[in-house]
C-alpha cells in the first residue's frame, strides 16, 4: 500500500471538520455535462429546484479518494454574461446569491469535439475569482475523430487544473473528483488569480480576438484535427426539417409517443386500479364499519390511488422523451413545429407538452421543463389543461351518447369537435396571455442541433425514476391531501336514512321473505335502496349543500341543483362526474345503458326534462373547457412556485367554459331545440 502524502493527510483533516466541498458544473448545452454528472454521482443524485426559482438543478454526491463532494449540475448556458434567465441564474449561483452557499469550485466543461467554442466559453468563466477545474468531455468521441487534447499543456495555458474525461466510458472521472477536491482545499490566492488572468484574453476582447486566442491555444495544446461532420447527418437534418417529409416524420413520431402514453400506460394503470380496489375491499371487509374505515378506504386509499394512477403515464412519457432528446431528434422536432407554434406565441418546444396533455395534463405540464424561456414555459403550463385528457373521455362518451344516440357519424364528429375545441381554446389563450400578462418579446428560435447519438436506455430509466419520485414527493403529497379533503366534503355530515330509504328496505325484507322469490329481484331492490341512500348522502353532504348554494350560478347553463352537485364534485377529478351522476340518478353502476335511459328521463323539480339538447350541449362544452382537475392545479402551483398562476388558470378556464356553454345553450334555445 502506498504511503500517504502530506497533502492527503491534510485533506483528511479538513474532511473530518468541515462540510463537503460543493462544486458546480458549468457548461454549454450538449457538451456531455449531464452524462459526466451521472458518472460522478451515479444514483446518489436528486432533482430539485434551485432555491427560490422554478429552474431545476440536479444535486448529487461524488466520491473522491479522500472524501465526498457535493456536485451541482447547473443549467446548460451559452455564456455567463448573457442576459437570459439561465445565465443570470448561473451567475447568481456562483456568486452565492441563491442557494444556501456558493460553490467552492467551478468545474468548467469543455467539449473536446467543439473545442474552440468551449475555450471561448471557458475564458469568460475563468475570469471569476474562484477555484476552477476544466473537465474536457467527450474525449473518446474526439479521439475517434482524430483529435486529442494535452491536459498538461492546457493547464499551463489556462492556469488551472485540467482533466480529460469521458462520461460515456468513465475515463478521468475519479481524477476529476480528486482535482476538484484539491482545488477546493487550496482555494485561490490573489496572486494565482492574477496569474490566471494573465493567460486569458482581455475582458474587452472582441469575438474575433477571442476566436484568435482560442485558435492559438488550440494549436498549442491539441493534436490532430476533427473530421468534418457527417454528410449523412446533414441529409437526415434536411429530411427531418423538410416542410413535407419533416412534418410527416414529426407527426409519425408524435403519434407513436402519444399512442404509447395513451395505450401502453393503460395496462399498468388498470393494474394499479385493481391493486388499490382490492386493498380497499380488504380494508372494508376487515375493519369495523365507521368513520375510520371510511377515511382509510375512501380518503387515504382512494387518495393514494388517485395519485399513483398518473405514474405510468408520467414515467412512460419521460422515458420516451429522454430517448428522443438523447438521440438529438427533439431539437429537430422543435425546429419543425416552431413556425406553427409561433403564431400563437409559443415556441416549437411547446408542442410535446401540449400533445402529452391529451393523455394527461400532469405529465404534459412536467415536460414543459424542455422549454428554455420562462414566459414561454409559463404560457404553455397555463394552456396545457385545455387539451382533452383521458379523464374527460367518460364524460364525452356519456354526453355525446345522450346528444347523438343512434347517430354514430355525428357522435364521431362531436368527439373530434371536443378535441378541436380544447386545442383551439388552448392556442388562442396562449396567444392572448403572451400579449397581455406574459407580454414581451418572444425569444426567437436559435436552436443548436446536437449531433445524432444512440440514446442511452440507462439514462432514460434514470430520468423516468427521477421524475416519478419527484412527482410522488412533491405533487403527489398535495394531491393526496386534496383528495382526502374532497372525500370529507362529499362524505360528511352523515345523513340519516330517509323515510323513503327505510320504506324501500322494509319492502325489500318483505319480498326477501316470500317463498320462491327470484334472488335477482331482491338484489335489485337492495341496490335501489343503496343508491337512494347514497343519493341522499351526496345531496346532504357539505359538497351537496355547496351545490345547492351554487345552483343559481349554473342555472343559466340549464343545470339544476343535482347537476350542479355533480359538476362541483367533478372539480376533484373529471371522471368523478359520471359516478356522481349514477348516484344522483339512482342507477346501477354496471349498466351504462340504464344510466343513459335514466338521464334522458331525468326531470327537474318543476317536472321539465333536465337533459334537453341545449343543456346537454352546454354541459359538454363546459367539460371541454373547464379547469376541473385539482391535481393539475396542485402541480401548477408546484411548478410555478406561486398560487397566482393556478388561480388564474382556474378562473380563466372555468370562466371561459361557463361563457361558451352559455352561448351554445342560448344559440340552441334560439334555434328552437
Amino acid at each position: 500500500m502506498a504511503a500517504q502524502q502530506p497533502e492527503d493527510i491534510e485533506l483528511e483533516r479538513v474532511y473530518s471538520t468541515e462540510r463537503p466541498p460543493r462544486a458546480a458544473l458549468l457548461g454549454q448545452p450538449n457538451t456531455g455535462k449531464t452524462t459526466l454528472f451521472n458518472r460522478l454521482c451515479g444514483s446518489r443524485a436528486r432533482t430539485a429546484n434551485i432555491p427560490g426559482t422554478t429552474v431545476e438543478s440536479r444535486v448529487g454526491v461524488a466520491n473522491a479518494t479522500h472524501g465526498s463532494l457535493e456536485i451541482m449540475d447547473l443549467p446548460g448556458i451559452y455564456g455567463l454574461s448573457l442576459e437570459v434567465p439561465e445565465s443570470k441564474l448561473c451567475r447568481d449561483c456562483l456568486d452565492g446569491r441563491i442557494g444556501d452557499v456558493a460553490p467552492d469550485v467551478a468545474v468548467i466543461i469543455a467539449d473536446a469535439t467543439n473545442f474552440s467554442r468551449s475555450l471561448r466559453f471557458a475564458s469568460h468563466a475563468l475570469r471569476r475569482k474562484m477555484p476552477c477545474v476544466i473537465a474536457v468531455t467527450l474525449s473518446d468521441d474526439a479521439r475517434r475523430k482524430g483529435f486529442s487534447v494535452n491536459a498538461a499543456a492546457l493547464s499551463e495555458c489556462l492556469g488551472c487544473a485540467v482533466v480529460i474525461t469521458s462520461g460515456r466510458t468513465g475515463e478521468g472521472v475519479s481524477e476529476l473528483a480528486d482535482a476538484v477536491l484539491r482545488a477546493a482545499l487550496h482555494g485561490i490566492s490573489l496572486e494565482a488569480f492574477e496569474e490566471r488572468l494573465h493567460h486569458l484574453p482581455a475582458s474587452t476582447a472582441s469575438e474575433s480576438d477571442l476566436a484568435k486566442w482560442a485558435n492559438d491555444v488550440l494549436a498549442e495544446v491539441a493534436s490532430g484535427r476533427m473530421s468534418a461532420n457527417s454528410r449523412v447527418s446533414e441529409r437526415v437534418d434536411r429530411a427531418l426539417t423538410h416542410p413535407v417529409a419533416g412534418l410527416a416524420a414529426f407527426i409519425l413520431v408524435m403519434s407513436l409517443l402519444f399512442a404509447s402514453i395513451f395505450w401502453l400506460a393503460q395496462f399498468p394503470m388498470n393494474a394499479l386500479d385493481f391493486i388499490f380496489g382490492t386493498a380497499g375491499d380488504w380494508v372494508r371487509g376487515t375493519f369495523p364499519e365507521g368513520p375510520l374505515r371510511d377515511l382509510c378506504v375512501d380518503g387515504i386509499i382512494g387518495g393514494i390511488a388517485g395519485t399513483v394512477v398518473f405514474l405510468p403515464q408520467i414515467c412512460l412519457l419521460f422515458f420516451l422523451l429522454s430517448l428522443l432528446e438523447d438521440s438529438g431528434y427533439l431539437a429537430r422536432a422543435a425546429f419543425a413545429a416552431d413556425k406553427f407554434m409561433r403564431r400563437f406565441g409559443l415556441p416549437g418546444q411547446a408542442f410535446v407538452p401540449l400533445l402529452s396533455s391529451h393523455a394527461c395534463a400532469l405529465p404534459g405540464i412536467m415536460s414543459t421543463r424542455l422549454i428554455p424561456d420562462v414566459k414561454d414555459r409559463l404560457a404553455t403550463i397555463l394552456v396545457a389543461p385545455f387539451m382533452s385528457c383521458t379523464a374527460r373521455l367518460p364524460v364525452y362518451v356519456l354526453l355525446i351518447s345522450l346528444l347523438f344516440a343512434g347517430r354514430p357519424w355525428l357522435a364521431g364528429l362531436a368527439f373530434v369537435g371536443c378535441y378541436a375545441t380544447g386545442a383551439i381554446a388552448g392556442l388562442l389563450s396562449a396567444f392572448l396571455v403572451r400579449r397581455t400578462l406574459l407580454k414581451g418579446p418572444a425569444r426567437p428560435m436559435l436552436l443548436e442541433m446536437p449531433p445524432y447519438r444512440k440514446p442511452s436506455i440507462k439514462i432514460a430509466l434514470w430520468v423516468m425514476y427521477d421524475r416519478g419520485v419527484l412527482f410522488i414527493k412533491n405533487a403527489g403529497t398535495m394531491i393526496l391531501a386534496i383528495c382526502v379533503v374532497m372525500w370529507w366534503l362529499s362524505a360528511y355530515p352523515k345523513v340519516a336514512p330517509s323515510v323513503e330509504v327505510l320504506k324501500m328496505r322494509a319492502e325489500t325484507s318483505v319480498v326477501a321473505r316470500q317463498a320462491n322469490v327470484n334472488p335477482e329481484v331482491v338484489k335489485s331492490l337492495e341496490n335501489q335502496a343503496n343508491l337512494q341512500e347514497a343519493r341522499d348522502q351526496q345531496l346532504g353532504s357539505m359538497a351537496g349543500k355547496i351545490g345547492v348554494i351554487a345552483e343559481p350560478l349554473f342555472r343559466p347553463l340549464g343545470f339544476d341543483h343535482q347537476l350542479t352537485v355533480a359538476v362541483l364534485t367533478s372539480f376533484l377529478a373529471r371522471e368523478v362526474f359520471v359516478s356522481t351522476l349514477m348516484i344522483i340518478s339512482s342507477t346501477d353502476s354496471n349498466d351504462e345503458s340504464s344510466l343513459l335511459e335514466k338521464l334522458s328521463q331525468n326531470r327537474r323539480a318543476d317536472g321539465t326534462l333536465l337533459f334537453t339538447i341545449p343543456t346537454a350541449a352546454s354541459l359538454l362544452v363546459f367539460f371541454t373547457l373547464a379547469m376541473q382537475c385539482l391535481p393539475t392545479l396542485a402541480l401548477v402551483r408546484r411548478e410555478t412556485q406561486s398560487w397566482k398562476w393556478p388561480l388564474l388558470q382556474f378562473v380563466w378556464m372555468s370562466g371561459l367554459a361557463w361563457g361558451m356553454a352559455w352561448i351554445v345553450r342560448e344559440i340552441l334555445l334560439t334555434g328552437g331545440l
Partner: protein, 98 residues
C-alpha cells in the same frame, strides 16, 4: 445611426456584397463580417456570438430558407426566419455549392 437592412440595396455593390442569410442556397459558404449582426437585437446578437456565430467566422448553409440551418465550426444551429433575415453575410467566392 440605425442600420436598416433592405434586401435589394444590400445586394448591390454599396452593401459590400452582403446578403441576408435567407438568400443563400444550400451548401453555400459565407463569411460573417463586422456589420453582419448589427441589425439584430442585442440579446440575439450576444446569443449568436456565444453559440459561435460571430464576426469573421465562416458558415455553411445546411438548410436554406427561413427557418434555416447553418453550420459553424462543428456546430449546427437552426435560426428562425426573423433572425436569419437580419444576419447579413458575404458569400465566399470560389466556394461552390455542395
Amino acid at each position: 445611426m440605425v442600420f436598416i437592412p433592405q434586401t435589394q440595396s444590400n445586394n448591390g455593390p454599396h452593401s459590400g456584397g452582403r446578403i441576408p442569410l435567407t438568400q443563400l442556397s444550400r451548401g453555400q459558404r459565407a463569411v460573417i463580417d463586422a456589420e453582419s449582426l448589427i441589425s439584430l437585437a442585442d440579446a440575439d446578437r450576444c446569443l449568436l456570438r456565444a453559440m459561435g456565430i460571430h464576426e469573421s467566422c465562416e458558415l455553411k448553409v445546411c438548410k436554406a430558407g427561413a427557418p434555416c440551418i447553418i453550420e459553424v465550426e462543428r456546430t449546427r444551429v437552426g435560426l428562425c426566419g426573423s433572425v436569419a433575415s437580419k444576419v447579413f453575410v458575404k458569400p465566399c467566392d470560389g466556394c461552390p455549392a455542395a
